[in-house]
């Protein structure tokens, strides 16, 4: 079930991106003289109603914050309901062996405490965060803020681990479900607020509610049960929702991959997207977690099976620094959830970093955006190719360590021509649950050139390098490298 839901939500995000149409700039972005990066509002693209013209939107004063009724008990009840519903499905439909629970298994779980769980890689690091997404959605749907919803996610995950499975509770599942669930849940909630619209009627209402429910599942169910009240959380006008986003959709043909150490050249088609919510340089930051975030995702088919990669980071705390002449700076504490998957290299992790982001204006039309982050990779994981290289993907190492990232992009007249992204993960393997002791270092570097061809459509070329150096106990140190080059068609918005 989780696989199906995950697939649906991923597809929904892709479908959303395919329907994006022109919207307006945030009011304070325009006022500050920040470059007019082309921006789109999701609220404008669904049928049944039309978006207000950008000029009119920019002139409107920001809506006053509207108090939302907080219902923590209902949120807790819905979190418990999610767990019982998932358990009932797994027990009576799926006949899952771990769903045979009783008072006795719960008592044993309390007595024996936590352990490390080695489910399949994709299950542990993608499905579990999706489960957490539902808990977080329950918190948000009942008026809780980010931190209240994070607590609901932690509580839901704890209940699942201790009560709803016959196995001992898993510490890594608790971490990935909670941390990943908060990240997925908050971006889903923010996007749902861009889609839903007050007073929408007819087909427009149906589309908006359906897509909003995929993005914010429990909020959608609540709206259905309470008659879709327009005073509910998750609508434009909520104090911390409903900003403008911009980004890019990329479609490539076969990807040419080469590796110095891995034999052969392989090809795989790929679709990717980038969404920037809010201004990374801090314009419009109002002090709420995830007022500014970025989602970078891609799905590539093959060469062996579909591989999903997701890079998400959002500001939890931040401070916009004084700027002049269109230049702006932002200092922030960020939360990350990252999942990088290829057929031969996989790494993922949940982390917290501190960093800055700046935008420098060289002329009214040309801007350079640069950012850097450094922090703690709380819980990461990488595949263990020494063991079971082609098996059911349960061979991986848990680790903790350091992570860093840097990004530079140059845009002219709102079109991003050039960008370079570097990410680094330094993992110290925890050697738990059969994992290998040692350390490894990952570097992912991506350089991209993009040229507009017609309006927002462009063509480009990207080169991506992924390098992994490792030094495991009882094994000789070594490295793996992979270089990809691909041409693409893109649509920036």
């Amino acid at each position: 079930m989780t696989t199906f839901s995950t697939t649906i939500s991923t597809l929904a995000l892709s479908l959303l991106l395919g329907h994006i149409a022109v919207g307006g700039l945030p009011v304070d972005t325009a006022a500050s003289g920040a470059p007019r990066l082309p921006s789109f509002s999701l609220a404008a693209f669904l049928p049944g109603d039309s978006a207000p013209p950008p000029a009119q939107k920019a002139a409107d004063p920001p809506p006053p914050p509207r108090p939302i009724r907080k219902r923590p008990l209902l949120a807790a009840a819905e979190v418990a309901g999610i767990n019982l519903g998932v358990w009932a499905f797994l027990h009576y439909v799926g006949d899952a062996f771990y769903s045979y629970i009783s008072w006795e298994t719960i008592r044993d779980n309390f007595r024996d405490g936590f352990e490390w769980d080695r489910s399949r890689y994709f299950v542990n690091f993608y499905h579990h965060p999706y489960h957490g997404y539902l808990y977080f959605s329950a918190g948000r749907a009942n008026g809780l803020n980010y931190w209240g919803s994070a607590l609901a996610t932690l509580g839901g995950s704890l209940m699942w681990e201790v009560v709803m499975e016959k196995y001992r509770p898993s510490i890594n599942d608790l971490v990935t479900t909670t941390a990943g669930g908060c990240v997925y849940g908050e971006i889903g909630y923010r996007f749902s607020a861009l889609v839903r619209k007050k007073d929408a009627r007819g087909l427009g209402r149906i589309w908006r509610e359906a897509v909003g429910t995929i993005l914010d599942p429990i909020g959608g169910v609540n709206r259905l049960l309470n008659g879709r009240k327009d005073s509910d959380p998750g609508l434009p006008g909520s104090p911390d929702a409903g900003r403008i986003l911009n980004g890019e959709v990329v479609l490539t043909g076969p990807v040419v991959t080469r590796s110095a150490e891995l034999a052969g050249t392989r090809a795989a088609p790929l679709v990717g997207f980038t969404l920037n919510y809010g201004d990374p340089a801090g314009t419009g930051w109002s002090g709420h977690p995830f007022d500014v975030f970025s989602v970078k995702g891609r799905l590539r088919w093959g060469p062996d099976r579909p591989h999903l990669s997701l890079f998400i980071h959002g500001a939890l705390f931040g401070k916009k620094l004084a700027s002049r002449g269109g230049t702006s700076h932002f200092l922030g504490l960020y939360q990350h959830y990252e999942y990088y998957g290829l057929d031969t290299l996989r790494v993922c992790g949940t982390s917290f970093t501190g960093g800055w982001s700046s935008r420098f204006k060289f002329s009214p039309d040309v801007a350079l955006t640069a950012s850097a982050r450094l922090g703690w990779l709380g819980l990461g994981s990488s595949d263990d190719f020494y063991a079971d290289p082609g098996g059911d993907r349960r061979s991986y190492n848990f680790g903790t360590g350091l992570t860093s990232a840097a990004e530079v992009a140059i845009a002219a007249k709102g079109y991003e021509y050039f960008s370079v992204i570097w990410r680094h993960y330094g993992l110290y393997a925890l050697a738990v649950s059969g994992g290998r002791a040692g350390r490894e270092s990952w570097d992912i570097l991506q350089g991209q050139v993009n040229v507009p061809v017609w309006e927002k459509l462009g063509v480009g070329f990207v080169v991506e390098y992924c390098g992994r150096r490792f030094d495991f106990k009882d094994y000789p140190p070594g490295s793996r490298r992979l270089v990809e080059a691909r041409a693409f068609v893109s649509c920036q918005f």
């Binding site: 027990h91 045979y100 009783s102 006795e104 044993d108 016959k166």
Partner: protein, 212 residues
């Protein structure tokens, strides 16, 4: 024949009109708290298991205009035939089940004398087995389970503080019989390798609900 049918039809209309009149009489909405006692019959679906009496008691908390949570302790016992459920070596005897239930009630009406509702919940079921021959110590036992509860009920409110409550509920226990004594924690047993018994019990009950 036609006269009899007409009489029955007229009687049905009168009963429906009376019921509608009673139902329309407004004695307020649900009260925040209730204590309840009920009793009735239980029929276990699995082959070789019979039917018996059940009784229970508990409390009910209103959590919304049309919702509430019931916490109920119930117990029932049914006869078990030899090799019931295809379980070899299980002697004739009696199965007793004590359950702690957490049931959500979703009411279709929020006020009035007649309040129908749906039941959705879970129960911690503690299942015991005693062979008919009291001199023989049991060598087998049923494994305790968490079970889904599905059903519905109807409260007929005699006054704002007293209601007669009728319920129909399915207690969906999936379990197996284990050999005694157990040598390892139950989590180490693979349930999918066991002879699974679907002890789905249809429970019919009638009780009193005192509201405060």
């Amino acid at each position: 024949m036609r006269q009899s049918a007409r009489r029955q039809g007229t009687g049905l209309v009168v009963v429906l009109l009376l019921a509608a009149g009673v139902a329309r009489a407004d004695i307020g909405g649900l009260k925040p708290f209730s204590a309840q006692l009920d009793s009735g019959a239980v029929f276990v679906k699995e082959a070789g298991f019979g039917h018996g009496w059940r009784y229970g008691g508990g409390v009910f908390f209103r959590t919304g205009k049309r919702a509430g949570v019931e916490i109920l302790l119930e117990r029932f016992g049914v006869p078990v035939e030899e090799d019931a459920g295809g379980e070899p070596g299980l002697g004739a005897g009696r199965m007793d089940m004590t359950s702690l239930l957490f049931n959500q009630h979703l009411f279709f009406l929020s006020r009035g004398r007649i309040l129908p509702y749906a039941i959705l919940g879970v129960g911690f079921c503690f299942i015991g087995y005693s062979p008919d021959d009291a001199a023989v110590l049991p060598e087998k036992d049923f494994v305790d389970r968490l079970a889904l509860q599905l059903g519905g009920g109807l409260d007929f409110r005699v006054s704002s503080g007293l209601a007669v409550s009728g319920k129909v509920r399915y207690n969906m226990v999936k379990t197996w019989v284990e050999d005694l004594p157990r040598t390892e924690p139950i989590r180490e047993t693979d349930p999918l390798a066991q002879n699974m018994l679907h002890l789905y019990g249809l429970e019919l009950s009638l009780g009193l609900k005192f509201s405060f």
